[in-house]
Symmetry: C2
Subunit: 351 residues, 2 copies
């Protein structure tokens, strides 16, 4: 039997309250004998929710925390104000070796800062990256996933050339671990495909990646290539990545609105849409990429998966499965080995 | 009668050859008595094309240039190698006061550099910006335009806080001149709506814009707001703007592909699409924003309009009309007055 993986599941601070996380965990204990879950949060809320459900008590435990991050808290100061917040305690459980991965549907900013404070970074990685999947026309990997990985989407707004290179390495290792793609094609997002295009840090990252072994570097891609899905992993600084990710969300919304508007207005359109419904559902499934399991916060020696704040139980369960998969993979070693090829600080200063 | 405006029309270097520009000019001389056109380019090519057409010779003249920029030329070096290139001569004609605006469907990079070399910058403006329109769900201005203005989209990759503020001022003045919107709402593109969100230069630009009179500053917008069209003018550095613009182009392509694919596959879908066709045309018209007249290169005392390389005669004619409108407006004075409110270099150093 496979060695079971224990997930520290932060149950607090999501849009729908702790119920979804508790339901996800209860169901996982009945469905998966290779997973254990530690529910982290307010026992007064979690206990009664758990009492209503059937679950395997051998695979589930509960860790009470008296504090948690609320949506209105400021991510930069909340961890000082609430030193026993559930996301910090979830990271501590992993740091202490009692669990192997953190999953949360709470504040992204607080999760990134908590992981930075309480978990060890992979040697050679200086800045964390938040990754997300974006829907694409082309499919990716052996499972023909209709989405690509984009990172960073907001953890590191200003990324140096070296940061961009480590993001490429981490994105490649994560895509390999999760989608089973042995050699994901990785590219830098720029304003042109030529090696000299882009700001200085992108040009320098291009040079470093061209010389790196063990990564399938495809050069630069442009904005066009994101919806097309030309490559499996797209690398950008957190500012650019965040704007791009939210833009995709906006495009999805606008298409849904236009379709709804057409539906309301005209009988013939309504009939047309009914006939087209299976096609539209297919497009919407691609757009609804959040059901594919959460955004990894990369750079730490243990996986941290951020599920969307709006996640329902199935999405949180999915995030737990992804976290277990990442924990079982050798992605940390792969990243460490690749990063070791990069010039050291002294070499960079002399270059 | 309105004072006529003369356009220096660079006819060389576009995808479809000089025919489209010559046709556009010939037609304009018959339709518009307030426009004059100087065709700039190789007389051996332009002459025979003109001979085939009917036009008003009182409103059209021809300026021969022995050189022009080819698509394969490197924009950074071509102007040194070809000092008599048509785009340079078109700018010279305007600098000499013989025409009031430049229109080109040739290389964007060469047009930006030629304008920087040969035309005067608006006092206080340090860096040029290339603007483009993006299709939006909400409409804008009194003409209910289904698109917003985005700048910079590639002229200035790294923009300082002050550059971003001048881009906001220029975008506002241009939108007012072209769309007849007396107070366009202008926003900075960032990774959150709060004033403290984004890299240092965006945060500082937010502060400067909040204090500026004569501009309708709406704060920060996120990626989501671009397809929605929350504001009339969106400001970003050239790197971010370029990625965003090309992404919109890519999304349009992918939607067209998905529709074509659905069309080919299934009889019921085909029927559905036929019934929906008027709605789909409407969406495609919004997507096909290039028909709305070209991208202005802003920052110079005379308008420079870059039409898309794929432009046919109607699009080039449209770009000429837009150039004339910009030339007649008081946008240069408006920009000058707004920029004068900004701190001078000395004040910035002391701040």
């Amino acid at each position: 039997m496979i060695q079971p993986v224990t997930i520290a599941l932060d149950c607090m601070g999501s849009d729908h309250g702790p119920r979804e996380a508790v339901q996800a965990a209860a169901r996982l204990t009945l469905e998966r004998d290779d997973l254990r879950v530690i529910l982290v949060g307010d026992v007064d809320q979690l206990g009664p929710l758990l009492d209503e459900l059937s679950y395997d008590p051998a695979r589930l435990s509960l860790l009470h925390t008296p504090q948690w991050v609320e949506p209105e808290d400021h991510p930069r100061t909340v961890l000082l104000d609430k030193p026993r917040a559930s996301i910090l305690e979830a990271c501590d459980v992993v740091a202490a070796g009692r669990a192997s991965a953190v999953v949360t549907a709470g504040s992204t900013g607080a999760a990134i800062l908590a992981a930075a404070q309480r978990l060890g970074r992979i040697p050679g990685v200086r800045r964390a990256a938040l990754a997300a999947v974006t829907p694409t026309e082309q499919t990716h990997g052996p499972k023909k996933d209709p989405f690509a990985l984009l990172l960073d989407v907001g953890a590191t707004l200003d990324a140096s050339a070296r940061d961009l290179v480590t993001f490429a390495i981490m994105g490649s290792a994560y895509a390999a671990a999760i989608s089973g793609n042995p050699a994901p094609r990785v590219a830098l997002l720029s304003n042109g495909t030529e090696a000299h295009k882009g700001p200085a840090e992108v040009v320098e990252a291009h040079r470093l990646l061209s010389e790196l072994r063990g990564i399938e570097f495809a050069g630069n891609v442009e904005g066009l290539d994101i919806p097309r899905g030309t490559v499996d992993v797209v690398v950008a600084n957190g500012f650019l990545g965040n704007v791009v990710l939210k833009m995709i969300e906006g495009v999805g919304e606008v298409i849904a609105d236009l379709a709804a508007d057409a539906y309301a207005r005209k009988y013939l359109w309504r009939l047309g849409l009914t006939l087209l419904s299976s096609g539209i559902e297919q497009i919407q499934a691609v757009m609804d990429w959040e059901s594919y399991g959460g955004a990894p916060i990369l750079g730490f020696t243990q996986p941290v998966i951020k599920a969307h704040g709006r996640s329902r139980a199935p999405a949180i369960a999915n995030a737990c499965k992804v976290a277990a998969k990442a924990s079982r993979s050798d992605m940390v070693r792969v990243v460490e080995r690749s990063v070791a090829q990069l010039p050291t600080d002294a070499e960079e200063l002399l270059a």
